[in-house]
């Protein structure tokens, strides 16, 4: 009798890894063939992927549903404005700003991570509302009138467009890689344990608060990058646009439709959101009603999202961050763990 085999990837996941590298190289070359408008749209897509992946890191893996993530999006843009105004190169400001956002999120996490579920969700919204009001008080921003990232104007339009495109692509790839590495490493096991059962995870020695804090700060940093990049594409900064709860609504939509708690799901969700926005974004209010209704229906009928459902159905793994156990004599067990049958529905390897 042979021993059980523990595998980290599948044949499909190895092909997927190569495909990811190929796709990113292709995307890096794409501006050669794309129109200016298409380059801008692709930049928006990269920002959406960042937003979805970061919200998913927090909610899907940390079990922390926040409706106030727009605070980091707005701060990412605001600090960029401030730093550029102080004379820093605007492109450098984008990333310094995100580091500042990450630093700011640390004290917030000390406080907010004590709250549970719904309290955390709305508590973050209060933080976002308060931050929005405080940013409005800044003379530079001039209340809701806002201001612009004027120092970006020294670059001509096409240099600016291409630089932002590559920065967005690089940020997306880097953030996804960091998240992937985190989930695949030893922290990843802790993260998935927390996602499945926080109390049980704590009882076997998982550092629940520390792990959640790591995810919280990472998500804040990533969303800060996204906000700063958005500012770079839009140039104008109006606090109302950046601190709008609709950003969180988009994140929730993308992650819920794609598949909460799955690495691939957030990316799929961002892609779908991008397509829906491209096709129906002109429909105005009905578009927003559709987004809200879709999120509502998914939360009721398909809470695991599209990817989660497909993965469960067919045992797909592309970007595998977990472990799977193959027991000799038993057909491959998609539950991936030696779990009691009654528990298999919840203890499935999802990431």
């Amino acid at each position: 009798m042979s021993a059980a085999v523990i595998a980290r990837g599948t044949a499909a996941s190895r092909i997927a890894a190569i495909a990811v590298a190929a796709i990113i190289s292709l995307l890096a070359l794409a501006p050669q063939f794309l129109s200016a408008g298409a380059v801008d749209r692709m930049t928006a897509l990269f920002i959406y992927v960042i937003l979805a992946a970061m919200w998913n890191a927090l909610a899907g893996f940390g079990g922390l549903v926040s409706v106030g993530q727009q605070v980091f999006f707005g701060l990412g843009a605001y600090f960029t404005i401030r730093l550029a105004n102080a004379g820093l190169n605007p492109f450098v400001s984008l990333f310094v700003s995100a580091v500042v956002v990450g630093a700011v999120s640390w004290p917030i996490s000390l406080f907010m991570l004590r709250l549970k579920n719904g309290e955390f969700a709305i508590g973050m919204w209060v933080i976002a509302a308060l931050t929005h009001l405080l940013v409005n008080l800044d003379r530079l921003v001039q209340g809701e009138t806002g201001t612009s990232l004027i120092s970006l104007n020294v670059y001509d339009a096409s240099t600016r467009r291409l630089t932002i495109y590559w920065l967005a692509l690089a940020s997306m790839a880097a953030l996804l890689a960091v998240l992937f590495g985190l989930l695949r490493g030893s922290t990843g096991a802790a993260i998935r344990a927390i996602r499945d059962n926080e109390d049980a995870a704590a009882s076997v020695g998982v550092r629940v608060t520390g792990t959640k804090r790591l995810l919280f700060v990472l998500a804040a940093f990533g969303i800060g990058v996204a906000g700063a990049l958005w500012l770079a594409t839009a140039i104008t900064f109006q606090p109302k646009t950046y601190f709008n709860v609709q950003w969180t609504a988009y994140m929730i939509f993308m992650v819920l439709v794609g598949g909460i708690g799955t690495f691939e799901g957030a990316i799929l969700g961002a892609l779908l959101f991008f397509l829906i926005e491209t096709w129906f974004g002109g429909a105005g209010v009905w578009y927003l009603i559709g987004l809200g209704a879709t999120a509502l229906v998914f939360s009721l009928l398909l809470p695991r999202g599209l990817w989660g459902t497909l993965e469960e159905r067919f045992g797909w793994r592309l970007l595998s961050v977990g472990y799977r156990v193959r027991l000799p004599g038993i057909a491959e067990n998609p539950a991936g763990a030696i779990a009691a049958p009654a528990q298999s529905a919840t203890s499935r390897e999802k990431a």
């Binding site: 719904g118 969700a121 308060l130 704590a202 629940v208 608060t209 809200g292 999120a295 939360s299």
Partner: protein, 298 residues
């Protein structure tokens, strides 16, 4: 100064009114309804529609709208919350957030971006006031709202402690399975609790429309007010909610006195301070907050 304190306390009555439904639903079903504020605004729009289109004064219109809100509450629990609560504690947050987006944008689609008010339909009541000793003028409407809040909170308290239905709701909130064993229909108790909560939301929406203006996207602000008042007062405690509402309103009054844009800031800051104190008092406070993570959650 005295005048501002009195006005602040009376405004607190409104906050208690909008918070009590949120706090009630949280204590019974452990669900924070993110569509809470949007539903209050929906009720205000319904009253506005009845008054402007069908010439039904808001106080009569309430009879229709509150019945409607009760039905909405029942349906909300039966068709949305019950189902999503089975998927864990996080799912209802997403479901009700989706609902809030739908309600806000449907209202926007129907009524446009204009701000409205019910004040034109309630005649002199919107500006009449009583003179109290000491030269204080207090708005009649503000007093009515405060009195309604007190009566409603007291009534809910009596209902929960003295009636069979109230006891079945409390039993369900403690432990639905055990309540089921002794013959309480947990589904019915929860649906009833949701219906009651929505009636209070409808009432709060009516007073929102009478004392101020509203627009389709006003729901988020009302949700934050409700949440802050409920948390300041201690979530799940009905009389605490009244105190919470008053503290919130006084903090906003103070904030407005310090800075012209300080009204909302004052409220949010008070909320965070109370939260901070509460965490501190619970023994996990400052030391717990700033020490290295121990791996345990509070």
């Amino acid at each position: 100064m005295m005048n501002q304190i009195v006005q602040g306390v009376l405004l607190g009555g409104y906050y208690a009114l909008i918070a009590c439904g949120l706090s009630f639903m949280f204590s019974v079903m452990r669900i924070i309804n993110l569509a809470h504020g949007s539903l209050a605004v929906l009720s205000a729009f319904a009253l506005w529609l009845l008054a402007s289109r069908f010439h039904i004064p808001p106080f009569y219109g309430l009879a229709i709208v509150l019945a409607l809100m009760a039905a909405i509450g029942w349906a909300l629990q039966r068709f949305l919350l019950e189902r999503s609560a089975r998927g864990g504690a996080l799912l209802p947050i997403l479901t009700t957030f989706g609902l809030a987006i739908v309600i806000d944008n449907v209202l926007f689609e129907q009524f446009g971006a204009d701000t409205r008010s019910l004040a034109p339909f309630i005649g002199r009541l919107s500006y009449d006031s009583w003179e109290w000793p000491g030269g204080l003028y207090v708005g009649k409407l503000a007093v009515i709202i405060f009195a309604t809040a007190v009566v409603l909170l007291g009534g809910l308290q009596l209902f929960l402690t003295r009636t069979g239905l109230g006891r079945s709701i409390r039993a369900t909130s403690e432990d639905p399975d055990t309540a089921g064993l002794v013959g309480v229909d947990a589904r019915r108790a929860n649906a009833l609790a949701a219906a009651i909560a929505m009636v209070t939301v409808g009432l709060a929406g009516a007073f929102l429309g009478m004392r101020a203006t509203f627009d389709p996207y006003a729901g988020a602000t009302q949700l934050l007010f409700a949440f802050e008042a409920a948390v300041i007062g201690g979530a799940g405690s009905l009389w605490g909610t009244l105190i919470g509402g008053i503290v919130l309103a006084l903090a906003q009054t103070l904030g407005a006195k310090i800075h012209p844009q300080g009204f909302l800031i004052g409220g949010h800051v008070a909320f965070l301070i109370v939260l901070f104190i509460r965490l501190y008092m619970s023994g996990l406070g400052l030391r717990g907050l700033l020490s290295l993570p121990t791996g345990k959650t509070p």
